[in-house]
């Protein structure tokens, strides 16, 4: 098991919700048995619809939320046992909304240098030098150092968030929808910056996004999540060339690329997203799946290895169940 920087084994996270005077507590399994492996230098794209558990998973990877069960290993050690500061130094997040993730009362210089002060290992002069250095690296003009977030545009704020995340030189950066709140022209600048920084600093990214075009563009591996589980994971090229899980196929079919004349795709998914409090029996995707057979509503599928280092969690590709599907897999 060399090379794996971050690994999870069967991680689950449940929340108790809906406890009222007359109603019983219900358990919501936001993340339900996720095993993944991020190697050094990877860009792992985590895609899925809202409510599929991708942000909950991110919080657990950051050590901000304990897992209900399962284990998360960072560099071979359980995340829950690592000192808080060490973890914060080595894994950093970049969040979606640069308007709410920056303290409006602090100057840009204070925001970026805060991690240095928290970790306490530097003098004022050294902090200043590091802040200057990182600002240059993320393309922020020095004159902004005394400005406040409200004086900056969305793209510049996201650069501040990136500078703050990178100042301690972390090994992994978890980007949760880093460009969704930005305009397209700014989005491309931030994506270019993230790609450059990865080259220069040898970073490993976990990129959470619902924008498949972006994921295809910069990820090296892609995990597709549906209702708390990873239903398909592959190398980016393999996944986009031949998506196997019916959900991945539907997701890919729904992407509207800027090509006129192609019309609006019909992914053939039902209207209703299932209630995560009461997930469907068997394969959780079966009520929306165009290929669903009887077995799908009875038995949960297991991950079927596909290609090199990839899997699809679907009965269609499971030899043991292949009798039920004659044509679907073709």
């Amino acid at each position: 098991m060399t090379g794996a920087l971050l690994e999870t084994f069967d991680v689950t996270r449940s929340f108790a919700v809906g406890a009222g005077i007359f109603s019983q507590k219900q358990m919501l399994k936001a993340v339900n048995g996720v095993s993944l492996r991020v190697n050094k230098g990877d860009v792992l794209g985590l895609v899925g619809e809202s409510g599929c558990g991708k942000s909950t998973l991110a919080l657990m990877l950051l050590g901000l939320l304990p897992a209900s069960s399962g284990s998360i290993l960072f560099d071979g050690k359980p995340v829950s046992h690592l000192p808080r500061l060490e973890l914060a130094r080595r894994i950093q997040p970049i969040f979606q909304d640069p308007y709410s993730s920056l303290n409006p009362r602090k100057s840009i210089g204070d925001i970026i240098s805060l991690p240095l002060r928290v970790h306490g290992a530097s003098t004022a002069a050294e902090r200043q030098r590091k802040v200057d250095e990182i600002m240059e690296l993320v393309g922020l003009p020095q004159r902004y150092i005394t400005n406040y977030p409200s004086q900056l545009s969305g793209g510049q704020r996201q650069r501040v968030a990136i500078a703050r995340a990178l100042i301690m030189r972390p090994e992994i950066v978890i980007c949760d929808e880093p460009t969704s709140a930005l305009d397209v022209s700014v989005q491309s600048q931030i994506l270019n910056l993230l790609m450059d920084l990865r080259q220069e600093l040898g970073l490993t990214y976990i990129l959470i996004s619902h924008n498949l075009a972006i994921v295809e563009h910069i990820a090296t591996r892609v995990s597709v999540m549906y209702l708390g589980r990873i239903v398909e994971e592959k190398e980016t090229e393999a996944l986009f060339r031949r998506a196997e899980h019916p959900y991945t196929q539907a997701l890919l079919a729904s992407v509207l690329t800027p090509e006129p004349g192609l019309g609006i795709p019909d992914a053939q998914l039902g209207v209703e997203f299932p209630n995560p409090m009461d997930p469907p029996a068997g394969c959780t995707f079966h009520p929306r799946c165009p290929h669903a057979a009887v077995v799908c509503s009875r038995k949960a599928p297991r991950p079927v290895p596909r290609g090199t280092a990839g899997f699809t969690e679907c009965h269609i590709y499971d030899e043991a169940e292949s009798v039920s599907f004659k044509s679907a897999a073709a």
């Binding site: 619809e49 809202s50 545009s153 305009d183 397209v184 022209s185 700014v186 989005q187 491309s188 600048q189 994506l191 270019n192 790609m195 619902h210 498949l212 075009a213 972006i214 295809e216 563009h217 910069i218 980016t236 090229e237 986009f240 539907a250 997701l251 079919a253 729904s254 992407v255 509207l256 690329t257 800027p258 090509e259 006129p260 004349g261 192609l262 019309g263 609006i264 795709p265 019909d266 992914a267 998914l269 209207v271 209703e272 997203f273």
Partner: protein, 336 residues
Amino acid sequence: MSALLEVKNLNVDIPLAAGILHPVQDLTFSVDKGQTLCIVGESGCGKSLTSLALMDLLPKKAVRTGTSILFDGEDLLKKSDRQMADLRGNRVGMIFQEPMTSLNPSFTIGNQMEEMMLRHRRVSRNEARERATYLLQKVGIVGAERRLKQYPHQLSGGLRQRVMIAMTLMCGPDLIIADEPTTALDVTIQAQILLLLAELQREFGMALILITHDLGIVARVADRLAVMYAGQIVEQGNVEDVFGEPLHPYTRGLLSCIPVPGKTERGAHLGSIPGIVPSMIGDIEGCHFRDRCPHAWMDCAKGGVDLRALDQLRAYRCLMSPSDSVARATELEMAE
């Protein structure tokens, strides 16, 4: 095809402490019956205010001026508040981005849908309920009768947007103005909603003005598009023409920013538009885009740049001739 909506020289001015804001300037466009026009642009370009201006829903201090807004031959600029209220929700439907904020949380879906028809048509509540049930089925909602008794918070985002669409159809409008109708939704739901809109549009022969920032949506949905930048239309035309050969540097910039699977090399640098949008307070001298334009020169800073019409549909706001514009773009591409 005749024009259902013809907008000529529409302006919106908003007096602020710092000066007069000009969020919409000299807008001229038209939409034919049954057609889809997409207005595309980044945040702050004035696309949403344009839709509000058309329907006279601007904030109180905003001032709307222009030559005319002809809707089916009648000038909306000359209508009274009462006449506009009769039009809205009746012949012109509107769909907004966040269905949760445009539906009233304290009334049932059914109540709100029926209200729409009771306000504009002489029908009984039962007849209105029948129409609401029919339309909910039409927009793909299973168990329509049950849904009518529910409140907005009991529905998912996708369902709420379907309800909004059904609601705008209550009076059989000729035109629907949809402002970012799918931005709050997941990609799979987005495709479903857009498909639904297109089908309903065909079935009922409605025209659609769709306001969006997403060029993917524009490419797949629009017949025509208008690209807005800093309050002005900088390019308009048929969608194939504009995507095939964009003439304004801003349109080209926008298109280069998004990766196209199979065309953009994976991991390669994406195009970008350096700089930021100019402030629209006070008058901007010259071309609005010149500070960010790779081709700008001295003349771009002088006077206003007019929209140049190439034919009935195609127009762009740039000093370069079409052939110059294309040649310069190719040159720039080669240099990179």
